[in-house]
């Protein structure tokens, strides 16, 4: 087992907010001492609502912000003592983009590589190969401002990969893209990991993105890590699947609920009108058993198994829905 590529301990960031009017100056704790361990070759999703501390954490790990406390090593280099070596090890694709609209794509790539000390010729070869891998053949001579949103985003990723970093940080990479471009972007991000074994640290407030892309998730809220694990683990931690049984009447539903708890053991059963809602650890295996033993003794008009979504996870962990936060 190799050493983790990112290891943060009690990483903290506080801001002083100047008071306006009658308000006294105060300190805001944007990140309240987070521990993060990421192994090589992982795609880790960093999930949280806007303002949860995602970007602040990311900006600390990419040397753009000095932590107020705690320590971190990135690719074995200490963030505080050797930021230049950290910078050499990482690529960072900021939310706001990376390229000047009036600049030519190929030139931006070459100049970016040269800032890492890479020879112009090597940079051009590498840049063309990268673009081709990202389905961006033929944009080398084009101005960045003329590219579509999805193309520009993939170019941003190419900019972040041109120096072949061990770790790439992607901040909200799919914001503002249409569904097709997003799915396409996800494919490319997976390929970056598969082909180059690059560790990918990706922040998002989209549940589907975190679910589709990440090997592992960190959930952050109010500056604290409130959950970590694979999407499956996190979903299981919220109490399992829901089995929904539809009966013929409210009375029948109550009888059905009693019968079902007798079969499956003592578990939460809610009756709502003619519907029974059972929470079980594993819906897929509970359902056949339930239906077999209920037999013909109860009228069941419909069944459904609802797997928890990351939205449910988020709701359980933070007491509010991610979607609420967006609005």
């Amino acid at each position: 087992m190799s050493a983790p590529v990112i290891e943060a301990r009690a990483l903290r960031k506080t801001y002083k907010v100047r008071g306006r009017g009658k308000e006294a100056p105060r300190t805001v704790e944007a990140v309240k001492g987070v521990d993060i361990t990421i192994d090589e070759g992982e795609i880790v999703g960093f999930l949280g609502p806007n303002g949860a501390g995602k970007t602040t954490t990311l900006r600390m790990l990419t040397t753009l912000l000095n932590p107020s406390g705690g320590t971190a090593t990135v690719n074995g280099h200490d963030l505080a003592k050797d930021p230049v070596s950290v910078r050499r090890s990482i690529g960072y694709v900021a939310q706001m983009g990376t390229t000047d609209p009036s600049a030519v794509a190929g030139e931006e790539l070459v100049d970016q590589a040269r800032l890492y000390g890479i020879d112009r010729k090597v940079a051009a070869d590498r840049g063309k190969a990268l673009l081709s891998g990202l389905d961006l053949d033929g944009i080398w001579e084009r101005k960045c401002g003329t590219l579509s949103g999805g193309q520009r985003r993939r170019l941003d990723i190419a900019m972040g990969l041109i120096h072949e970093p061990r770790i790439v940080f992607l901040d909200e990479p799919s914001t503002g893209l249409d569904p097709q471009s997003r799915a396409n972007l996800w494919d490319h991000i997976r390929r970056v990991r598969d082909d180059f074994h690059t560790t990918v640290f990706i922040t998002t407030h989209y549940m589907d993105e975190a679910d589709a892309l990440s090997d592992r998730l960190l959930v952050i809220d109010h500056g604290e890590i409130v959950g970590k694990g694979t999407a499956e683990e996190l979903k299981r931690s919220v109490g399992g699947d829901q089995v929904l049984l539809t009966s013929t009447s409210a009375d029948a539903a109550r009888a059905l609920a009693r019968a079902a708890t007798a079969i499956l053991g003592d578990l939460p059963a809610e009756v709502d009108g003619d519907e029974v809602r059972l929470t079980v650890p594993d819906g897929a295996s509970a359902l056949p058993k339930l239906l077999r033993e209920l037999g013909a003794s109860h009228d069941v008009e419909g069944v459904a198994v609802r797997r928890p979504t990351l939205d449910d996870v988020f709701l359980t962990m933070t007491g509010r829905s991610l979607r609420d936060e967006e609005n």
């Binding site: 990419t62 753009l64 100049d111 040269r114 000390g117």
Partner: protein, 254 residues
């Protein structure tokens, strides 16, 4: 020297982007000519008032003033470009590379200084056609001094722009600073016409001494204390500007 190499990369990139804007190139070259053609003729009348001193050539007074004005205004506006670069994420992207923070500033300032050298040279050459008489080395020294001065204003402009990150607050601030600097510099009218309190204010304006220094050069008095003082102030201003600018580029969350 990694800082020299990084500065060169930033400089060539900035220069390439500037040259690719045809409007920018044309107006950049046209600007000094406009100054000469539309303002110069007024000067010959003013020189007759003898306010600039006895027995002086109007163009020797006027062209140094124009050069300094070019340095002030040409360089002060560069911050606007930086705000749009910041907005498109370019600055942040470069700050995550191992490039030295100072080079991110110096490369851009170098572009601005080169632009001023070209504009200043055009201004002086056209002024020769209009009737300026001055030794060639005075012209070289004058243009060089003004380009250096521009380096100071460009650095400060970048520093302020990167701090404010908003055109809406940058523009009024720029006007609020550049206008009094111009009015108190004796570029447009000789400060000898001013009341005492205004003259005192003007003496506190470093630009005034730079203008007088370049005027002394144009009179052929390159080693005159006034000329040397002007150069010394310019060098001090450049060092000050770069120090401030580097600080801002180095500062976190800039």
């Amino acid at each position: 020297m990694t800082i020299a190499r990084d500065t060169w990369i930033i400089f060539t990139r900035a220069m390439r982007l500037s040259l690719r804007q045809p409007v920018w190139v044309v107006f950049g070259l046209l600007q000094p000519i406009l100054y000469l053609a539309l303002f110069g003729p007024l000067l010959e009348t003013i020189a007759d008032t003898r306010a600039f001193g006895e027995d002086v050539d109007a163009w020797q007074i006027f062209v140094p003033g124009l050069l300094v004005q070019l340095g002030l205004f040409g360089a002060s506006f560069v911050g606007f470009g930086l705000i749009s670069e910041w907005r498109s994420g370019v600055i942040e992207r470069m700050r995550v590379t191992p490039a030295s923070r100072a080079s991110l500033l110096l490369g851009r300032v170098m572009r601005d200084v080169v632009v001023l050298l070209v504009q200043g040279t055009i201004l002086v050459l056209v002024a020769l056609l209009f009737g300026l008489r001055a030794p060639w080395w005075a012209l070289v020294a004058g243009v060089g001094t003004v380009a250096l001065l521009g380096g100071c204003f460009a650095s400060l402009s970048y520093a302020v722009a990167l701090t404010l990150k908003s055109e809406d607050s940058f523009a009024p601030l720029l006007n609020g600073v550049a206008l009094p600097l111009l009015l108190l510099s004796g570029i447009l009218l000789p400060m000898s016409l001013a009341p005492r309190w205004l003259q005192l204010l003007s003496d506190a304006n470093p630009l005034k001494h730079v203008v007088e220094g370049v005027r002394a050069m144009f009179r052929g008095e390159l080693t005159d204390p006034v000329a040397l003082w002007g150069v010394a102030i310019t060098v001090a201003l450049v060092l000050f500007g770069i120090a401030i600018g580097t600080r801002v580029f180095r500062r976190q969350s800039a």
